[in-house]
């Protein structure tokens, strides 16, 4: 049985006071807070097992290697990948997209090939493809959004030149959850690869890569209770085997002479240099934590909080919410503006109440332009978010209005 108060006890930072007021952390779409189990696992790793994996024959190295490689198996199970080798550790979603861009799109696409994206994408799923376009002559096509903040799928018209469709599973601004299974079907019927940005979905709902049928899925550990700088790129094995490495150097090779090098097998071919074992240990513990809660219950809790927040925010005059109005069509992210108050000013005033929200363009400048706004405020939720925190947000927003009506 999901009990938010019990969950909160596991997060030491939630006991923090901000200038005497309890912290109300509503920025989990940026990064999640970490439970004590994850913090302890990292501490234990450094106290008991620290060594550089894959390199030496002593006990600690064996343990570090096992911890690192067991996380790969755990991640594979978590997203239902067929093989652990389909899991590549990267720093974050952004790096995962760069890996696909440099190792797949850049060498394999050319004029007149096309990549389909959408206007709701995060910069991490736009800028690498712009680089590909500028360097190999492929072109980009952007699907628009409809009035309700959902994708206009009528514009998803892949043709024989469309080699790749890369879309977000859930928008970090609009909250919109895209029908990626249907989109994947359309992409595949056309023979295009389907890349999914899972940064805002994998932490929050059950994800099954075989059911979705995607070719690549990228996500970040730090948004799902794990430390920063451990992320994942899932890729179908046949594709990964046919790709060139992204980073070159140690660990990613089989043999090096002064003349040349041969590549290691997948996935190590894509993991040059000393890996982030601490991050993998944290990610493994984070996945255990989420599995214990159950991803269905995680989603259920966030949906409940989102519905409650949509309701509370709708009571505030002059407040405009962007994206779908129904909680079951969106993730735990609500972006909004309050008439006459810039989101940075809102965030500053809310900080006085111990409330942490994000403000600005959310790394989605094209979407801001599409919505016709310079910036927006955003409250985002996770397993530890409570209804009384939403009440605190609503009250502080009302107070902000009073401050600005001086």
């Amino acid at each position: 049985m999901f009990d938010v108060e019990k969950v909160r006890e596991d997060f030491p930072i939630l006991k923090r006071k901000i200038d005497g007021k309890p912290l109300v952390f509503l920025d989990s779409a940026s990064t999640s807070q970490k439970p004590i189990q994850v913090i302890n696992a990292i501490k234990e790793y450094y106290e008991m097992h620290n060594a550089n994996p894959h390199r030496s024959l002593y006990k600690l190295c064996e343990e570090a290697t096992e911890l690192y490689e067991n996380t790969r198996k755990k991640v594979a199970e978590f997203i239902n990948a067929k093989h652990p080798e389909e899991i590549i550790f990267v720093r974050n979603t952004n790096e995962a997209m760069n890996l696909i861009a440099h190792s797949f799109a850049l060498p394999k696409l050319h004029n007149p090939n096309e990549i389909i994206l959408s206007v709701m994408e995060h910069h991490a799923n736009i800028v690498p493809w712009q680089y590909v376009r500028d360097n190999n002559g492929a072109s980009l096509k952007f699907i628009d959004i409809k009035k309700d903040g959902t994708l206009n799928l009528e514009q998803l018209n892949p043709n024989s030149n469309t080699k790749m469709v890369s879309l977000t599973n859930a928008s970090n601004v609009l909250g919109t959850i895209n029908p990626i299974k249907d989109i994947g079907k359309i992409a595949h019927e056309n023979g295009s690869l389907f890349v999914v940005d899972g940064a805002q979905s994998v932490p929050h709902m059950p994800i099954d890569v075989q059911d979705i049928g995607c070719d690549f899925l990228a996500f970040s550990g730090h948004k799902m209770l794990a430390p920063m700088n451990i992320g994942v790129l899932y890729g179908r094995k046949e594709l990964l085997e046919d790709m060139e490495p992204f980073m070159l150097g140690s660990d990613m090779i089989k043999e090096v002479t002064l003349e040349k090098a041969t590549w290691n097998d997948v996935p190590w071919k894509f993991e040059a240099g000393t890996p982030n074992v601490e991050g993998a240990v944290g990610l493994s513990t984070a996945i255990d934590y989420l599995n214990d809660l159950g991803m269905d219950d995680v989603r259920k809790h966030e949906k409940e909080i989102t519905a409650y927040a949509l309701d509370k925010l709708s009571e505030i005059d002059g407040l405009k919410v962007y994206g779908p109005t129904a909680a079951d069509m969106r993730g735990g992210v609500i972006s909004f503006n309050l008439a006459g108050i810039h989101s940075h000013d809102l965030a500053t005033i809310l900080n006085d109440f111990g409330i942490a929200i994000r403000s600005g363009h959310h790394c989605c400048m094209p979407l801001m332009k599409r919505l016709g706004i310079p910036a927006a405020a955003r409250a985002s939720f996770y397993i530890y978010t409570t209804k009384y925190e939403i009440d605190a947000l609503a009250n502080a927003l009302k107070r902000s209005k009073a401050v600005f009506s001086k």
């Binding site: 006459g340 108050i341 810039h342 989101s343 940075h344 000013d345 500053t348 005033i349 900080n351 006085d352 403000s359 600005g360 363009h361 400048m365 801001m368 310079p374 910036a375 401050v403 600005f404 001086k406």
Partner: protein
Amino acid sequence: MNAEAMYNEVILDHYKYPQNFGKLENPNIVHRESNTLCGDVVEIQMKLNGENKISDAKFIGQGCAISQSSTDILLNNIKGKTIENIKNFDKDFILKLLGIEISPARLKCALLPLVALKTAVQKIKS
């Protein structure tokens, strides 16, 4: 620190009813500056008289209350000043004009018009 104190009546008055918002006809200097992190933008336009003094100045822009009111207040204080005067303006000068304590996170907002103004006057051939 108390953010509400930052949004006092003077600041909000300049934000909501800026005195120098608009476009000059035939300005001698125009410069646009933006804060890439938050997207705040100000464009300062100035007219110089024969003695190289600022005879008029206006701005257009969009952004938070701090950046926009800071711009409006700064422009109130540059008319009649020489280019040399402006080159000597610094952070403390702006903060004194604003008369409020600015949190470190918002300092960039308050200083945006100063950056715009100083870059603008650099465009003038001395």
